[in-house]
């Protein structure tokens, strides 16, 4: 039987399936959930998917719509003409006849993702970039026929001391009507004491902003009250650019190899953000035009594509960004459906691989204000590390790959219902206890789950320091797969929703070794350059940092030894940074200064890189000692 490769996005699950199976069956086989109300009979039309065509360098497949069986009548019934033209199909009716890359749109995805990017409390003084001023004007008369704007400017100067204001075009258009509708009483929005960006009739106190974190995988928007600093609504979604590539490099490649690539990805993210805007405003009972200011963070590639700036040069050594400094753009110029005068502030960029998202982390954790030496590790699809204190700061980026997010792992999945997120293994019996997200049977393992599984396997002597399985271990959970490779069973088929044993394979362990080795090497080389053997505090950031077990991450050696009490997980610090920049304009200036002070270190050109990386791939390390978890390591059998 011939086999074809099917890749499902945004989950990234892929595999070879027998030709002739439907996309729905292929999805089930690969553990991907697609909405299905009718059970695959072609009657509900809920399982809409999109085929992305073209040669995908990263996967080495040539995805074609013609690699699926011809469109059936039931599909034609359920799909709109626009959808058919955009390569939409029903998963239950399309049979696989060749390689395809299939995107499952948000609405067709079964089981919601648990987005771990909730908004926590922030400690920030309120001083947003925009302020609203209420003014009463004397109506124009034949004796005093001065123009509306001049009349307004005079009053703003008289009552609020605002001088030399300019007016933004949409506000100018809005002005005459607003003045008359409000009986010459209006609320004026002024940006940075410089520009009138909006005018509303009467007294309107509501002042809303949107903080945005564009992650490579997940995009989050925080609708924020600029008067109180409170987050009113949070909405997140998969980054709609995922179909163009799972990681930054493959997206840059996509824009290099497709003439319209940049434009397509730019449009996708703008469309996605507009969806977020429409959702949060609807939930909050407000209008999109109530959003008067936006602050955005994202890695350098996300930043560039969001601005429709060519990211090509980020992908090639020496990886220079188009700009370091922060930038302010009108939302309307980007096609964002916020207030027509709204400004979008993008945080500054440290280096090609240390972007505005890491700057957000710095703004939120403030290493530049501390005496103590901090080691800040932001774990995402890329790992970014900042080391130092008020005197000096270094940063670097390491290619951890997506293993920590559950990708590249045989039974890996994102943090969604059914994902194993906590694992304990009894060192005597080697029996496994695990916790699954949501009220569901186990379906796969998410990032925090795979880290704990590997740490627990190491602690129980099931895997050795070098990552190899220890064949001496007696348990029926340790066995060989069809290719003769060892694997360890976390969950037996009967306890899963996929009717398959969920295992951790040697290849999974290798992926974790590479990822954690990269992080450890980054920390170590920065510490060496800085001239310190130990740090005072370790901050784990990243949507995933909140949920990661500190001890487990040290047991596998993701970072050098440190008092566990001095290790803190701060969650999505990049998003917090965006919120802070939204609420306090002074932090923006400060961020610009700090960004230029942080010195970027390129790891791969360090003469010790290869040696350090090699040693860091062992659990927890080939040579370095871990006195703070000595009691844990000493208990390891064998």
């Amino acid at each position: 039987m011939t086999k074809s490769t099917v890749i499902f996005q945004p989950s990234g699950r892929r595999g070879r399936v027998n030709s002739g199976v439907t996309l729905r069956e292929a999805a089930q086989e690969l553990g991907v959930e697609i909405e299905s109300v009718c059970g695959g009979k072609g009657t509900c039309g809920k399982c809409k998917v999109v085929v992305h065509e073209g040669f995908f360098e990263k996967y080495g497949i040539n995805s074609r719509l013609s690699n699926l069986s011809p469109m059936t009548d039931s599909e034609k019934k359920h799909l709109k003409n626009g959808e058919i033209a955009s390569n939409y199909r029903l998963a239950c009716a399309s049979r696989v006849e060749g390689d395809v890359l299939v995107y499952i749109p948000e609405e067709s995805r079964g089981g919601g993702q648990v987005i771990r990017k909730a908004a926590g409390e922030l400690d920030v003084s309120l001083n947003p970039a925009i302020r609203k001023y209420f003014v009463k004007l004397k109506p124009a008369t034949l004796e005093d026929p001065e123009g509306d704007l001049e009349r307004l400017l005079k009053e703003l100067e008289k009552t609020h001391g605002l001088r030399n204001l300019k007016i933004d075009y949409p506000a100018a258009r809005e002005m005459p009507e607003a003045l008359r509708k409000g009986g010459w009483e209006v609320t004026v929005t002024v940006w940075q004491d410089k520009e009138i960006t909006w005018i509303e009739p009467g007294n309107s106190e509501r002042s809303l902003g949107l903080a945005v974190d564009i992650g490579t995988t997940t995009v989050v928007g925080y609708l924020t009250d600029l008067e109180t600093g409170e987050v009113i609504e949070v909405e997140s979604m998969m980054n709609p650019q995922v179909p163009y590539g799972e990681d930054v490099m493959s997206r840059i490649t996509y824009s290099m190899t497709h003439p319209e690539g940049l434009k397509e990805m730019h449009r996708a993210i703008i469309k996605g953000l507009n969806k977020i805007i429409s959702k949060v405003t609807k939930k909050a009972g407000v209008e999109a035009r109530d959003i008067l200011e936006l602050a955005v963070v994202g890695n350098t590639c996300m930043h560039h594509v969001f601005l429709n700036i060519n990211p090509e040069y980020l992908g090639l050594s020496p990886f220079p960004p188009a700009m370091h400094s922060s930038i302010d753009v009108k939302a309307r110029d980007l096609g964002l459906k916020a207030n027509p005068g709204a400004n979008v502030h993008l945080l500054p960029i440290e280096a090609g691989f240390v972007g505005a998202d890491n700057m957000g982390v710095v703004v939120a954790t403030e290493p530049h204000k501390q005496d103590k030496i901090l080691l800040i590790i932001d774990i995402g699809t890329n790992g970014e590390i900042v080391l130092g204190n008020k005197d000096r700061l270094l940063s670097t980026s390491c290619a951890t790959g997506p293993a920590f997010e559950g990708a590249q792992i045989k039974f890996g999945m994102r943090a969604a219902p059914g994902a194993i997120e906590r694992v304990k293994i009894d060192p005597e019996t080697r029996e496994v206890e695990y916790k699954v997200i949501g009220d569901a049977k186990a379906r796969g393992i998410c990032g925090s789950g795979i880290i704990e599984a590997v740490a627990e396997m190491f602690k129980a002597g099931i895997i050795k320091k070098n990552g190899n399985f220890n064949p001496e271990v007696k348990t029926d959970r340790l066995r060989k797969d069809e290719k003769g490779q060892y694997e360890f069973v976390l969950a037996w088929a009967k306890d899963t929703s996929i009717n398959k044993d969920i295992t951790v394979t040697l290849a999974d362990i290798r992926a974790i070794q590479l990822a954690k080795g990269a992080l450890y090497t980054g920390c170590k080389i920065l510490m060496k350059r800085y001239g310190v053997d130990a740090v005072d505090k370790v901050i784990l950031a990243g949507a995933f940092g909140n949920y990661i077990d500190k001890e487990a991450s040290m047991v596998i050696g993701m970072f050098p030894d440190c008092d566990l009490d001095k290790v803190v997980a701060v969650g999505n610090a990049a998003g917090d940074g965006a919120r802070i920049a939204l609420l306090n304009r002074d932090t923006r200036e400060e961020a610009n200064k700090v960004a230029r002070k942080i010195k970027y270190v390129e790891l791969t050109v360090d003469k010790d890189f290869q040696k350090e990386f090699m040693m860091a791939m062992h659990f927890p390390h080939m040579k370095d000692k871990f006195p703070h978890i000595k009691n844990v390591l000493d208990r390891i059998p064998g």
């Binding site: 990263k58 590539g245 840059i252 090639l316 190899n468 791939m617």
Partner: protein, 224 residues
């Protein structure tokens, strides 16, 4: 120790990544007056072949292979200066140009493959990393190498390989071109017109080790 024991020790030293052992035995090998070339091929290289097998079977991972390579280098440094060049014999040419393409600064994988070529007796012209694309073409012309090896660890830089291949082919259609690196697949190799590929470090390594095996075979049959 007799000759067989010394060879066995050299092999084990490489496999167990015991640099000191390899150094000590390489010295002894020379002191006993044995042929340096034989020590390299039947000792060090044979050990590395086993390492490749262990790697292919997933028993060794990158750290172990790199340590084995260090042990092998330690032995090579001692034995290589004593290799006699026998001009009477027909010599397999074996020259290779290797490098990481422009825009890419990753070279761990490339260095392993380079080592394999050296072990196999090739003359290696290593251009290093972040090599301008035209430099590969020039170096191939200058050295008249039979083989060009291009490495890229990022999808963004892999795209550049296509241009290099086209340029080399235009100048010299007979050259064999191998490409490798994390993002390289069989389909990419075919599309770019390469003669061979190493899917990742493991594959490149396995391929390179196979090459050593066939060279050792040829040597035994006295063809080199």
């Amino acid at each position: 120790m007799n000759k067989e024991e010394l060879l066995k020790g050299l092999r084990e030293g490489v496999i167990e990544y015991d640099e000191d052992k390899v150094k000590k035995l390489a010295e002894e090998w020379l002191k006993a007056g044995y042929d340096a070339n034989e020590g390299i091929f039947e000792g060090l290289a044979a050990g590395m072949e086993v390492v490749g097998d262990l790697f292919a079977k997933n028993e060794y991972f990158v750290p172990e292979v790199l340590m084995c390579a260090d042990a092998l280098y330690a032995g090579l440094d001692i034995l290589r200066p004593h290799v006699k060049v026998d001009k009477g014999k027909k010599k397999l040419k074996g020259e290779v140009v290797i490098g990481t393409v422009e825009g890419d600064v990753h070279d761990i994988g490339k260095n392993i493959v380079k080592l394999m070529f050296e072990v196999a007796g090739f003359t290696v012209h290593d251009l290093g990393k972040d090599v301008p694309l035209d430099k590969f073409v020039e170096e191939q012309m200058r050295t008249d190498s039979d083989l060009v090896c291009l490495s890229a660890m990022m999808t963004t830089t892999m795209v550049g390989m296509k241009k290099v291949i086209e340029k080399i082919r235009a100048k010299n259609p007979k050259v064999k071109i191998l490409i490798g690196g994390a993002p390289v697949t069989k389909e990419v190799a075919e599309m770019y017109g390469a003669d061979g590929y190493g899917r990742d470090a493991s594959n490149a390594l396995t391929e390179a080790i196979k090459m050593i095996s066939s060279l050792r075979e040829m040597r035994r049959e006295d063809k080199i």
